[in-house]
């Protein structure tokens, strides 16, 4: 049998990271050794039967081949309960799950586009790369941007980090896609770009459109509610352009943006609405 994906992870660090985010570091060597950027874990926030389902989190970093780092905001009962977990607690975690980002080819310039709390897998991706890369971080307002330490890590890895907020409270006023479009249109080396995006569906749909119009290849990390993370509950399916559905947890979470049927409207509640 291949190495197990079911782990008992010890919480070695759990702290508020600013801007409403929590940062949790789990000791899980078996998991950390197998992980690749863009993969995720299913974390059980308690041993109780309510809430019953594990929660999916994109891996934000792997440290010393022993630890994985996650960022999350309290958006519901599961994350509220997770926020109460103390250091040294042992949590059931499955992973690494999903396909992860395809490694950028030699000579390409990755553009990493994160919306809202979609930044963790892109942070891990950026940290793992030697390519010169550019990052675009967008959020509704300053308080919804990634925590400062994450932005600092981005700045260390990227040639440049572009920040946009809907209300202009930080960076440029407007959508992250406005800055991305301006960047693309100002450059004459467009053919070397590959876009990797993670964030709200509407943002990724816009990034996908923008990339398609300019003939730039684009990968998106999709988010859906999921029960198992293993490919059996069929709950996390997304519509694809060839017809039918694909599982975010198994065939994804990373898809070529041109494979996704963006016309299918998904009604998900706005978790961060104030």
């Amino acid at each position: 049998m291949p190495p197990t994906k079911l782990h008992q992870a010890t919480v070695v660090l759990h702290q508020e990271a600013g801007r409403g985010y929590f940062r949790i570091v789990l000791k899980a060597p078996g998991l950390a050794k197998q992980a690749r950027p863009g993969q995720f874990v299913m974390l059980r926030v308690s041993e109780n039967q309510d809430p019953i389902l594990a929660r999916p989190f994109g891996i934000a970093a792997v440290k010393s081949k022993q630890y994985i780092e996650l960022f999350y905001r309290v958006v519901g009962r599961g994350t509220a309960l997770l926020a109460t977990v103390e250091r040294d607690a042992v949590l059931q975690v499955q992973g690494p799950l999903g396909n992860g980002f395809p490694a950028p080819e030699k000579g390409t310039t990755p553009l990493l586009v994160a919306g809202g709390s979609g930044f963790p897998p892109l942070l891990y991706f950026a940290l793992s790369m030697r390519h010169p890369l550019y990052m675009f971080l967008g959020a509704r307002d300053k308080e919804c941007l990634p925590p400062l330490r994450a932005i600092k890590s981005c700045r260390e890895q990227a040639e440049k980090v572009y920040i946009a907020t809907d209300d202009g409270s930080a960076g440029t006023r407007g959508f992250v896609t406005d800055g991305l479009a301006a960047f693309l249109d100002s450059r004459n080396d467009r053919e070397s770009f590959v876009i990797y995006a993670c964030g709200p569906r509407s943002m990724m749909a816009a990034v996908s459109k923008l990339a398609a119009e300019r003939g730039i290849s684009c990968f998106v990390s999709m988010e859906e509610r999921m029960a198992c993370g293993l490919g059996v509950c069929m709950g996390c399916s997304v519509a694809v352009r060839t017809g039918g559905y694909k599982r975010v947890c198994k065939e994804g979470p990373v898809f070529k943006s041109s494979d996704i049927d963006w016309s299918e409207q998904v009604v998900l509640p706005a978790l961060h609405r104030k």
């Binding site: 019953i52 029960a227 198992c228 509950c233 399916s237 017809g243 559905y245």
Partner: protein, 323 residues
Amino acid sequence: MRSAELKKGIPAKASKCVTSPDLSVNVAGIKMKNPVMTASGTFGYGEEFKDIIDLNRLGGIIVKGVSARPIKGNPPPRIWETPAGMLNAIGLENPGVDVFINEKLPILRSYDTAVIVNIFGYSLEEYVAVTERLDGIPGIAGLEVNISCPNVKAGGIVFGTNVKAASELLTALRKATKLPLIAKLSPNVTDITEFARAAEGSGCDGLSLINTLLGMAIDVRCRKPRLANVTGGLSGPAIKPVAVRMVWQVARAVKLPIIGMGGIMTPEDALEFILAGATAIAVGTGNFINPRATLDIADGLASHLKREGIPSVRDLIGQVIVA
């Protein structure tokens, strides 16, 4: 489980030391090394779990529902978490019986476990077609007939909530195959024993119960249902007491062996179903939360028998003490 209470109901010889308890059972003519199975739609076709647990240790695998033709499934959102449970409306997405036979079954066949194929259709003819296609294919221990999926308007539930329609369907399927036939009953009826009797009268060899309970959840801010399908099937520990009650009622009404399911997460949950009258049990939503749940339950049943000095799990079937 109160062990003192349990001991009252078991044979006198049970007090002696049991070193290797017998977990084997026979359900509907299907011999299994232990009574622990996987419920349809929660274990795929075994592929996703074969790298996580040793499938050879399972009593049986009830595979995800298979139909005569491929089914695309419902639009998302398809699931919603509820207190100690979840709603789902997947819509019976599956690649169709030919892909199952050619691509999925060969993998399953290489394991030493009973493979039970869950089947469904959108009409009596489609149920017959998939049954005839599977009849005579090596490596299939039996068929579980889904007459109870709540998420497909024209599908199973029509048969599962109408005794006459259920009888006609099961009688037709009985003629279409010699494989053991297990009817999976819906809990969304006033009296489940009527359907159990209908299955028995139609020549079925066993019963699976229960399928999910029809439910609904609403987002109060946008005033929309949480599921694109509006309603969905409720599963998980939340439904366990309903399932145990129905197994108990059905066990008293018919002679057919029962595969009990509905919220089983632990060995103790499994024992409740067995005491209520189930010969075997299936883990469903539990597979999502703990992929090792089936093996933990099989180990836990063995420990329980040892601890209580009970030679065989069969000694516990239907042994609930009701004054």
